[in-house]
Symmetry: C2
C-alpha cells in the first residue's frame, strides 16, 4: 500500500532528491568514494556548495548585498544567534505559537522583548503597533503547530528577522523586505541537520557583546559556509531539491502546487460534517492544514486516527500540544496524496 507522508518535519522530499543522494552515497561525482566519506575540502564538494548558494539566490531572487549560508544546529540555535548578534536594547517578537515563543525566550536573555500576541494562536496578529526604536522585529512566517501563516511580505519600519523554517520556497518572497531570514531545512529543502540563513550584509556589528566565532553570521559567509565542516549530506540533498524546484517552475510553480493542494483540502474540511478547521480566512497555512473533529463527532478522533493510518496516511496526528489532526502538505507532496486524504475523510464520513 502506498504511504502518504504528511509528517510535519522532517518531511517529504522530492523523490529525485533522495535518489540522487543514494547515487552519491554509492559514488560521489565520479570520485570513486561515497558522499558520506568525501572531504568537504574536495573540489567536487566545493561545486555542490557553490551551486546550492547560487540556486538559493536565483530561485528566491535574492538582491545584491545579501549572503546565503548553511549551518548546523537547527533553527533552535538561531533563536539564540539572532539576539546574540542583533539585540542591543529592545526587540519586538510576534508571538504566533510554540516556535515563536521559544525564539522570544532566548531573546529575553539578551535584552528587552516587546511581545505582540493575539488571544490565541489560531489567529495571527495584523496591523499592530510596535515600538519603532526597537532593534528588530521577529516573525515566524508559518506556524507548523497551529496551521497559521503570513502569506504576504509585510512592510515594517524596523529591521525584520523571519523564521521561515516551514514555508521557505513555498511561494515567492520579496527578500528586500527582510534583513535576516533563517530556518531549519527539514521541511521544503533537505533532511534534518542543516540550517539556512539569508541576511543583508550590513546588519551586523552593532552590538558590543563578544560573540563566539561559531555564533556569528559573517564568518560563515566569508568562508562559503565552510568555516567548519558543514553537514555534507544534508547540503547535497538540499542542492538536489533546489534543482527540482527550478525544474518545476521555481517558487511560483511551488505556490501554484501548494495553493491547489491547500484549497482542495480546506474545502473538504469545511464541507465534511465530521471535521472543522481551527484557522479561518487569510491566516490559513498552505503548508500545515490543521483540523479537529466537529463537536458532535469529537469521540471519533481516535477512530479516525486509526482509520486514516490504515489507509496509509502517515503523520497526520496533530502536535501533542494541540491535539486533533495536521496534514503537512509541503512542496514535494503530490496532489494525489491530498486526494487520498480527502477520500479517506469522505469514506469516514459515510461510515458515520
Amino acid at each position: 500500500m502506498k504511504k502518504h507522508n504528511f509528517y510535519a518535519g522532517p518531511s517529504i522530499l522530492p523523490q529525485v532528491a533522495i535518489d540522487e543522494t543514494i547515487n552519491a552515497l554509492k559514488d560521489f561525482a565520479g570520485t570513486g568514494i561515497s558522499l558520506a566519506s568525501v572531504s568537504h575540502r574536495s573540489k567536487e564538494f566545493d561545486a555542490v556548495m557553490d551551486e546550492a548558494v547560487a540556486l538559493f539566490k536565483e530561485l528566491l531572487n535574492i538582491p545584491e548585498g545579501y549572503s546565503v549560508i548553511f549551518l548546523g544546529g537547527g533553527a533552535s540555535l538561531q533563536f539564540a544567534m539572532v539576539p546574540f548578534n542583533l539585540l542591543n536594547k529592545k526587540a519586538v517578537y510576534v508571538n504566533t505559537g510554540t516556535w515563536a515563543s521559544k525564539a522570544m525566550k532566548e531573546a529575553k536573555l539578551f535584552g528587552e522583548v516587546v511581545e505582540i500576541k493575539e488571544a490565541n494562536y489560531f489567529k495571527l496578529p495584523h496591523n499592530f503597533d510596535y515600538p519603532t526604536d526597537a532593534d528588530y522585529i521577529h516573525i515566524t512566517t508559518n506556524n507548523t503547530i497551529y496551521g497559521t501563516e503570513y502569506k504576504k511580505d509585510i512592510d515594517y519600519k524596523i529591521p525584520v528577522v523571519a523564521d521561515m523554517s516551514s514555508d521557505i520556497f513555498s511561494r515567492p518572497v520579496d527578500i528586500s523586505k527582510y534583513d535576516l531570514i533563517y530556518g531549519g531545512a527539514q521541511k521544503n529543502l533537505a533532511p534534518s541537520g542543516v540550517t539556512f540563513a539569508i541576511f543583508k550584509n550590513d546588519i551586523f556589528g552593532k552590538v558590543t557583546r563578544p560573540i563566539p566565532t561559531m555564533l556569528g553570521y559573517t564568518i560563515h559567509a566569508e568562508n562559503n559556509s565552510m568555516y567548519n565542516t558543514p553537514p555534507v549530506i544534508p547540503v547535497f540533498t538540499a542542492l538536489q531539491t533546489l534543482r527540482w524546484i527550478k525544474a518545476n517552475g521555481g517558487v511560483a510553480g511551488m505556490k501554484k502546487r501548494n495553493d491547489e493542494k491547500a484549497s482542495k483540502l480546506y474545502a473538504e474540511i469545511d464541507r465534511n460534517k465530521m471535521f472543522k478547521s481551527t484557522v479561518q480566512g487569510e491566516d490559513r497555512s498552505i503548508m500545515n492544514v490543521c483540523f479537529i473533529m466537529n463537536e458532535e463527532y469529537k469521540d471519533f478522533e481516535a477512530e479516525f486516527a486509526k482509520f486514516s493510518s490504515e489507509k496509509g496516511m502517515l503523520g497526520i496526528k496533530g502536535h501533542r500540544s494541540v491535539g486533533g489532526f495536521r496534514a503537512s502538505i509541503y512542496n514535494a507532496l503530490e496532489i494525489e496524496s491530498v486526494d487520498a486524504l480527502i477520500q479517506t475523510m469522505q469514506e469516514f464520513e459515510k461510515m458515520h
Copy 2:
C-alpha cells in the same frame, strides 16, 4: 582502479554503514518512506537514537552517572559551549595545534586562560605544571593536522575536558578520568553534521551567566538528544558504525587494527630514504600519520603528490598550514590501503 580514502575528515566509514544508510534512504525500517523524510518523533527513529546511545555507553564502557548526547553544530560549536557552561574564572588549555588553539580562543571570551604549549606542535607537552584552582583543563587527544596524539588517559587534579573528534573509538578510553568529552563525528563515526558529547551529569550549574537553551548540555540529555530536531541521517549512520565496531572486537579490536596499520606505515616512513616523519616516539598519532620529504628530496613533493594520486591515494596532501603529506588511517581504513600506500612509496623510492 580502487581508491584509497586517506581523507582527514569527513573520511572513510565502514562500507556496511554506508550500505545500510542507502537501504534506509530507500525504505526506513519498513515504514515505507525514506530515512530522509521520516519524523524524528517516529517510534522507529526513537529506536535508532536509543540504540546509538546504548552502544556508545557499552562500547566505551561509560560509567554510571554519565550522559551521551548527539548535537549539530560541530566540535567548533563545542569550543564555545565548553567555556559557556564551565568557565567561571580560569581554565587551562593545552595548546597542541590548530584545533586546540581555536578552542582556547573561544574560552578567552569567557575568562582567564592558562596556556600550556611546547616550542612547536610536533611534540606534545607532558608532565607539565598547571594551576590546580582552575575550573578545568582542556586537551585535544589527537591532533589531525600535526599527527600527534595522547594515546594514554592522563590523571589530572582538576576536571578534564577532551576534544576526541579524531580518535574516539580508536582505542579503549578510561572515561572516568574525564568530565566532558566531545567531538565532531565525521572521522571514526558518521558523515559530517553530528557532534557527540559524553559528560558527567554533575559538572554543570556552577557558572552564573545565562546560557541560551541550545548551548546547554543537560537539556539535550533530558530530551534524549531530541530537544530540537536531530541530524537524522548522520545519527543513523553513526549507529551502523557503532554496530560495526561491536562486531569487530569493540574498541580493543579497533586499537589492534589501528596499531598494526600505524606501525607498518611509520616503519616504512622511517625506512624509506625519501621520506621522514614529523613526529617522534610516543607522541605519534595512530590516526593521522604525517610525513614530509627528506631534505635531499624536498623538490619531489609535488611529484609524489601526483604519483600517489595516480595510484588511487586520495586525500594524502598535508593540511595547508603545514604542507607535506598526511595519511589518515581511521578505524574503517583497511590494512590493504596502508599496504597500497607503502607500495606506492616504495615504487617512488625506486624511481629515484
